[in-house]
């Protein structure tokens, strides 16, 4: 299962025939496993990894916002998290250890966009007691992929 997921994670929807060959399995086995991965909520969807910073007209701004919130008896932070997660500006949302309770990753067109979201939507959310916003200035690596200039492969064309 790990090898199959690693292939899908780095290469996207690869033809099950090819996966079967590479993993030494049958096509039927691979398809059955893909189906159960979907059923179990492990395989959510296929998506491209996009470097928005390289697309001049489509730039997006990201911010990591540490949120402190008031936990509820029996539910902890789940209710406030569920509420916050429904804003379309929220890219991802995590329960954290350490100083803050939640980390909200917010996506916007520009800094003002995000500032408005924090001031008008996130901070006033019932249960949220404080926010601390850090803007992303430059991305060096995302999802395991380095965005810095790749070093040229210096292997010789033929070696013993």
């Amino acid at each position: 299962m790990k090898s199959l997921l690693e292939i899908l994670k780095t290469e996207g929807p690869v033809d099950p025939d090819e996966i079967a060959i590479r993993l030494g399995r049958t096509r039927d086995e691979v398809e059955a496993e893909l189906e159960s991965l979907r059923q179990e909520g492990i395989l959510l969807r296929y998506s491209a990894l996009v470097n928005w910073e390289a697309a001049p007209d489509l730039k997006k701004v990201y911010a990591f916002i540490n949120v402190s919130a008031t936990p509820e008896h029996g539910r902890g932070f789940d209710k406030v998290a569920e509420y916050v997660s429904q804003f379309e500006e929220v890219h991802s949302l995590y329960l954290m250890s350490g100083g803050a309770d939640l980390c909200v990753v917010v996506e916007g067109r520009d800094f003002r966009d995000i500032a408005r979201f924090v001031a008008e939507k996130l901070a006033p959310t019932p249960g949220v007691t404080s926010t601390s916003t850090s803007f992303v200035l430059k991305t060096y690596k995302m999802e395991g992929v380095s965005l810095m200039a790749e070093s040229k492969n210096s292997r010789l064309a033929v070696t013993p």
Partner: protein, 400 residues
């Protein structure tokens, strides 16, 4: 012409040029070649290993080490050898850090051979074995391995080649260039021969970690073999550290002592920063090795499936990162096929003859190459086969 006084030695002049070198000259200068001709990983060295070496430099580890290598490295190697082969080697005088397996091979031959002594060298094999014997004043005696034996070494063939001058048997599994592996049961008769004829076995196990079929058996772990085996291994292939030039030899103390003495004059010590990196590789590199081995295995299967569709006969390699398909049915020689593949399709694959005369009719194609390039190479090989009237009856080669 330089004056006669400036000539090279007879030995150097007579040393045959490497078939790899000749082919390299053909390839160099060409653009956009897909190379299946490379005998090294396409991964970079895991960063944690580089980081340790850099930190070592920062902390001033820039001097020679003991001729044997750093004691920390030899202790880590002893633990690794115990873990992998169940063997106990004394780090004090049974393990020597070398400049790659290449130096270990050279030292082993020089430590063992008197002029005219013979070494049995199975072919096809790594290009350096025969020259290493020759440079040490010995005589290589070739034993050919055959596809019908899955390129395993037949004990009868070895025994037939043994003479009173035979000192050593060279063994190399998983094999470069065939990818063949030999199981414990298959190696046992060779161990008996070594015992019976009182031979040293030089076992090059640089590809041991890259075993996909069965499990690797270290030759020294066979009954009675630790005392007559010089194990050569290193970090190049498993940890993607070819450029670091770090290998090691492990074996009986009296032979290792001789090898160390030669090494102390010819190399002094293995590179210090490489030794520091190697310690980290041994301590924390096993997950990286597993990751790379998993990828090689996927590529191995993909390439073999591709050959099948092209009706290109290929023995199934169980180790290393090479395939050794047969092109005999095309009517071309290995050299002709590989130069046509290069000039017509821009794919570089080494003619089997670079690894011995019995490599005629074969090509060595490496799968230590990105999957997308392997797929494209298969398409291009298919085009050449088509023009030669030998195209596969299977599905469209474009379909993988």
């Amino acid at each position: 012409m330089p004056s006669p006084g400036l000539r090279s030695s007879r030995l150097a002049i007579d040393l045959p040029p490497s078939g790899i070198r000749e082919f390299f000259d053909l390839v160099s200068g060409r653009e956009d070649v897909i190379s299946l001709g490379v005998g090294e990983p396409d991964f970079s060295t895991p960063w944690k290993i580089c980081d340790e070496a850099i930190d070592g430099l920062r902390r001033g580890y820039t001097s020679y080490t003991s001729n044997w290598g750093m004691s920390e490295l030899r202790e880590a190697l002893a633990a690794d050898l115990h873990h992998r082969h169940g063997l106990t080697y004394d780090p004090a005088d049974q393990i020597l850090a070398t400049n790659g397996v290449s130096e270990g091979l050279d030292l082993a031959m020089r430590a063992l051979l008197d002029p005219g002594d013979e070494v049995i060298v199975p072919e096809p094999c790594f290009v350096a074995y025969k020259p290493a014997v020759l440079l040490a004043g010995g005589r290589p005696v070739v034993v050919e391995t055959r596809v019908e034996d899955s390129f395993k070494l037949r004990p009868e063939a070895v025994e037939a080649a043994i003479t009173p001058r035979t000192r050593a048997l060279m063994i190399s599994y998983p094999n470069n260039p065939t990818g063949a592996v030999m199981s414990r049961e298959e190696l046992l008769p060779l161990a008996e021969l070594a015992e019976k004829h009182d031979l040293v076995v030089i076992s090059d196990e640089i590809y041991a970690y890259l075993t996909y079929v069965g499990t690797h058996t270290g030759f020294a772990s066979l009954p009675g073999m630790q005392e007559r085996t010089i194990l050569l291994d290193g970090f190049s292939k498993a940890y993607a550290m070819t450029g670091w030039r770090l290998g090691y030899a492990a074996g009986p103390a009296h032979l290792l002592e001789s090898m160390m003495r030669i090494h102390s004059y010819t190399a002094m010590s293995a590179p210090t920063m490489a030794q520091i990196g190697a310690i980290e590789a041994l301590r924390h590199g096993s997950q990286d090795v597993q990751y790379m081995v998993g990828h090689y295995n996927q590529r191995r299967r993909l390439l073999l499936a591709g050959y099948k569709r092209l009706d290109l006969p290929c023995f199934e390699p169980g180790g290393a990162f090479y395939t050794f398909p047969s092109i005999a049915h095309t009517g071309l020689t290995s050299a002709e096929f590989s130069s046509r593949l290069l000039f017509e399709e821009n794919v570089a694959a080494v003619p089997g003859t670079a690894f011995g005369a019995c490599g005629e009719g074969y090509l060595r194609c490496t799968y230590a190459t990105h999957l997308d390039l392997l797929k494209e190479a298969l398409v291009r090989i298919g085009h050449l086969l088509e023009r030669l009237g030998c195209a596969g009856t299977g599905a469209d080669p474009e379909s993988v």
